[in-house]
């Protein structure tokens, strides 16, 4: 394991160096929000806080082209039309800088969904392989954070290539994966092993500040038992607005829509787009016939909660939740709906 020390004033030059070879995404403040944006030389140091929106968009953009399509007419024979399809599966070398452990762990959950099944998602895979994740371990868990409840923690290394912990005068960088170690080894940064203990102490301190842990080990079993308890779900969901804030903020929500936009016969052709979709929308499962297996929002909430704490445990070989406890869905919910409360109630009541 390579351990380096990066002085506070060395951060921006180091990022500038990275930016020469990678697209660098880092959090910056925009209005009240903190957003991951491409970082360029000349930009300020990234904000050392949890971003408002999880950085999953770096691997799984809010909207991307799956297939470009275009038809071409034979000028000699106008009704002879050929169809050309292009699938731009490509990824630039990328560094995701300054996400939290909960964000990095989100990619592990997404890996299960996109790379763990019968078919792999080549778009995600390409970007995942091309991306190096430098995680800024968490030093200020918020009241909505609950990473420790879902087997994570403010400094969980899962999903990260490099862990970075703020210490006196700078940062300790620890290589976690081969990719991460290689990056640090070639970085020319001084050794930081001597600061590792300080970093560890700070992390332990941070972990203590996470909202006291509740035992969710029975979640899958209890949710299964609750499935038909509609009164429970209606009561828990009453205040939900059915918007997509929770799912779009979420580091693990994987669902997407596919739509064709643009006319194949037009000069510029069209694109088959993949865009984020949200299971709280009544449109999500509505069929052409009008039939909708999840017509009421209670059924949709049941699906969302069950997916995260029950279904995912079935399809993940390691039985993990599809939730990293980042708490964004609580903090950013317009009605402050608390998913922790639902799961705990489902278990306890």
């Amino acid at each position: 394991m390579t351990i380096c020390f990066l002085a506070t004033e060395g951060l921006v030059p180091w990022l500038a160096k990275l930016a020469q070879n990678y697209r660098v995404f880092a959090p910056r403040r925009e209005g009240k929000a903190i957003i991951f944006r491409p970082w360029k030389e000349g930009d300020k140091a990234p904000v050392p806080l949890k971003a408002t929106v999880a950085p999953k968009g770096v691997m799984f953009p809010a909207c991307e082209t799956l297939v470009s399509y275009k038809t071409t007419k034979d000028p000699q024979q106008l009704d002879k039309v050929s169809l050309t399809l292009k699938a731009p599966v490509k990824a630039e070398p990328t560094v995701l800088f300054g996400c939290r452990s909960c964000d990095a762990r989100g990619f592990v959950a997404l890996d299960k969904a996109y790379l763990g099944g019968k078919f792999k998602d080549p778009y995600y895979e390409a970007r995942r392989n091309a991306t190096l994740i430098i995680t800024h371990t968490c030093d200020n868990p918020t009241p909505t954070c609950f990473c420790t409840w879902v087997n994570g923690g403010p400094a969980s290394p899962e999903g990260s290539d490099v862990l970075m912990t703020a210490v006196q005068g700078g940062y300790v960088l620890e290589g976690i994966s081969q990719k991460g170690n290689d990056l640090l080894a070639g970085s020319g940064l001084p050794d930081g092993s001597d600061k590792l203990n300080e970093a560890r102490a700070l992390r332990t301190e941070a972990a203590k500040r996470v909202t006291p842990r509740k035992d969710l080990s029975k979640a899958a079993e209890r949710l299964k038992a609750r499935f038909t308890d509609m009164d429970f779900w209606i009561a828990q969901t009453a205040k939900c607005l059915s918007c997509g804030a929770c799912t779009f903020m979420c580091p693990t929500c994987q669902c997407f829509n596919i739509t064709d936009e643009g006319d194949p016969a037009s000069e510029q052709g069209g694109q088959r787009l993949r865009s984020w979709d949200y299971c709280m929308s009544p449109m999500f499962t509505r069929e052409a016939s009008g039939h909708n297996p999840r017509m009421v929002k209670a059924a949709r909430m049941r699906n969302r909660v069950s997916h995260k704490y029950w279904y995912s445990t079935e399809y993940s070989p390691d039985g993990r939740f599809s939730c990293t406890g980042c708490g964004r869905c609580i903090a950013q919910c317009p009605v402050s709906l608390d998913i922790r409360e639902i799961v705990v109630k489902a278990i306890e009541e």
Binding site: V67, L83, A87, K118, N257, P264, T285, S306
Partner: protein, 281 residues
Amino acid sequence: MNELNPLLPEVATVVEIVQETHNIKTFRVKLDDEERMKAFHFEPGQVGQLSLFGVGESTFVINSPPTRMDYLQFSVMKAGEVTSALHKLNVGDKIGVRAPLGNFFPYAKWKGKDIFFIGGGIGMAPIRTIMLYLLDNKKDYGTISLLYGAKTPEDLSYKDDIKEWLADPNLNAVLTIDNPAEGWTVDDTHKVGLIPNVLKELAPRPDNCIAVLCGPPIMIKFTLMALKDMNFPDEQIFTTLEKRMKCGVGLCGRCNIGGKLVCVDGPVFSYDQLRELPPEL
């Protein structure tokens, strides 16, 4: 399927269109890449995604059997945006195909058994593929029967096939329509009545018999009840599920029933499998 990119369709050409009923058309398509068409392999019950670029994609069962590979056949009932647009296609038009997708009927396990097919309306499409496949391999199976029902005689698809089926000595085919209609003479093979009722009349024996039923949800519901009344065990009843699908390859997350994804874990389920799933159809 494109091995590298399961979301990238292959270009295909519509070679023939059959108007089955007022709202069902059958499309016969060929992949443009002849090599790939030759190498195309699928199992009965598997589905394909047809793309009409600029409109979208939709899932249909491949209802020609794997034993007859001149073309891939899909039957499309007009319902939403994609199916309506498909209905406007002409022979020679280009579409996209992603196939085969999903699981298939476990016909290997059915060897030596009697098979009773029950198809309602557009649900005849998945039945057609497995039934023709089994008929092409008749020696491996016992009695093969078909009960195919529709609202009116005009709503019966595959009219050319039906003539052959009624004449086929290897198949006991019975047709039914919901209400009496002019020109529909009731006899041993032509009935009037809802599928569950006619089924009870035909009274297939449950022992050593596999029941395969496909059709609209309401028909499935009552036919299942009828089969249970006739003591068909859960594991001998098979059906196919339909859900709103987008990716068809287990990624987009909307066709789940509990932890199962209909697009990759289905569409074929036995009734005992279904009972294990959360009740969210």
